[in-house]
C-alpha cells in the first residue's frame, strides 16, 4: 500500500487516542463487519471543541484519518468543524490511495455523528441544520 509519509506519521504516532470521561458528545460509525469502527469523543465549551479523542478499529488509513480529523477540529467552533469535509482530511494527509478514500469519509462521519449528538443534547437540531447530517446515512464502503 502506498501511504504518504503524513499518513504513516499519523498511523505510527496517532494524536488524540483515547476517550474523554465527561465528553460533551460522542459519535460511533462504521461496523466490525466491514473492518472499521471509529468512535470520536468531543469536549465542547462555548461552542468550541476544546478537546477531541478517538478510538478506531481499522486499517492504517482509518487510524491516520481519525488522528488527523481530531487534530483538525480541536480549537474550532462546532460550525467550523462541521464544514470540514473528508476531502480536506485526506488532503491534510497528502492524499490517500483511492481504495482507502472511504476511511476519510468515515472520519468525517464520526465527527458529524458526535456533533449531531451534541446538537440533539443541546436542542439545536432543527429542520434547517438537519441536512448537514444527511451524509451520515451514506455507506462509505
Amino acid at each position: 500500500m502506498q501511504y504518504s509519509d503524513k499518513v504513516m506519521d499519523h498511523f505510527m504516532n496517532p494524536r488524540n487516542v483515547g476517550e474523554i470521561e465527561d465528553a460533551s458528545a460522542s459519535g460511533t460509525v462504521g461496523n466490525a463487519k466491514c473492518g472499521d469502527i471509529m468512535k470520536v469523543d468531543l469536549k465542547i465549551e462555548d461552542n468550541v471543541i476544546v478537546d477531541a479523542k478517538f478510538k478506531t478499529f481499522g486499517c492504517g488509513s482509518a487510524i491516520a484519518t481519525s488522528s488527523m480529523a481530531t487534530e483538525m477540529i480541536i480549537g474550532k467552533t462546532v460550525e467550523e468543524a462541521l464544514s470540514i469535509t473528508n476531502k480536506a482530511v485526506a488532503e491534510a494527509l497528502d492524499g490517500l490511495p483511492p481504495i482507502k478514500m472511504h476511511c476519510s469519509l468515515l472520519a468525517e462521519q464520526a465527527v458529524k455523528a458526535a456533533i449531531k449528538e451534541y446538537y440533539e443534547k443541546t436542542g439545536r437540531l432543527n429542520d434547517e441544520n438537519k441536512a448537514l447530517f444527511d451524509m451520515l446515512e451514506e455507506d462509505p464502503h
Partner: protein, 397 residues
Amino acid sequence: MSDKKRVYLDYAATTPVRSEVLEVMLDIYNNNFGNPSSFYQEGQKAAKIIDQSRETVAGCIGARPNEVYFTSCGTESDNWAIKGAAIAQAQKGKHIITSSIEHHAVIHPCEALARQGYEITWLDVDQYGLVDPDDVRKAIRPDTILVSIMMANNEIGTVQPIAEIGKICRENKVLFHTDAVQAAGALKIDVKELNIDLLSLSGHKIYAPKGVGALYVRGGVKIANLLDGGAQERTKRGGTENVAGIAAFAKAFELAVSEIDDNARRLSSMRDRLIGQVMAEIPHARLNGHKTSRLPNNVNISFEFIEGESILLMLDLLGYSCSSGSACTSGSLDPSHVLLAIGLPHEIAHGSLRVTFGKDSQEEDVDRLTADLKNIVQRLRDMSPLYSDFLKAQKQA
C-alpha cells in the same frame, strides 16, 4: 526504520529465485536462446532442455513426462484444468464440485463457468478447513464432470484428505483436479497413488521465477485447450516456450523435493514455536487451520479486536513482511473467504495474520517476531473501541 534488515515471512505469497536456479536461467539466457520449435542446432538444444525439464517435473510427482504440460503460472494451470475439462465433457454433464476455500484461480473459473450454464456445488469445510470426503461422495451426480479440491490451502495451510477424495472420484469415474501450488515442494506427491487426473503447479512458490507453472494431465484424460496456437506442448498449449523459466522450474522442483524432509522438520519446528509462543503470550488469539494436517511452514492467527492491515503495516515498519489472508486479495476490503468459510465472524477474520516460513527463516526470527507482535497487538488494542467495549463488559460482569 525501513533500513532495518528485513525479515521476509511471506513465502506462501512468493519466493526469491534461489541461486542454483538463477544459474540455470542465466546459462540459458546467455547461451541457449533458440526457439525450441526451430529445426537447427540452437532450436534443438532448447528443445532438449524442455524435454529434460519435463522428465524432471514428471519425476517429482510420479508422472510420465508426456503427462506434464508447462504453463505460465498456477492460475493458468487451474483455468486450463477447470475450463478445459468443462468444455471437453459438456456432453456428459455440466456439474462441478469444488470447495469454498479454493484459491481465486479455482473459484473464479468456476464462477465464469456458472455464468455459462454450468452448475457448481461449493462444499463447506469444517472449522479447521477440512473437506469431508464423504461430502464429495454425496455431491457426485450422474452429470458431475469434475471435482476440484486443493491439496493445501494457501491461507490457513490445511492439507486436505486428497487420497480419499481421489479414490472416490476414480470409483465414480469423475475427473479429479487438485491445485497443488502450495503443496508442491512441501508434501510428497504421487499422482498415481492419489488418483489425481489433473494437478496444478506454480514455479514462484518453490524458488523458481514468476511466470512459469505446469499442469499434470493423466494419460488418456482429454481437456480442451486454453491457449490454442502453435504445435508447442504436443499441440495442447501454444506459445513459444519460456525455456529458461521451464528449466528453472524443473531445477527448483527437483531441489525442493530432495529437501522435503529436512524442510518439513526445520519449518514445522519454527511454525510450532511461533504458534506456541503467540498462544501463550497474547490473549484473545486463535489459530486458524488444522493443528496437524497443516503445511509445515504456515501459521495463521486471528487477533480479536484489531484489524489485520494495521498489524501488517506496523510489522512492515519493523522490517517484517507478512500477509493477512491471500496476497491476491490485498486490493480488496472484504475479509478472506477462507476465514469466513471456517466460521470466523467478520470482525475476527479482519484481524488475521499469516506468517509463512521459508529458506532464510531462522528460529531467532520467531522469538523477535513474538515479542514485536505482542507490542503491536497491545498498541492496536489500546486504540480499538472494540477492545474498550470488551474490557468494560468484562468489568461489569
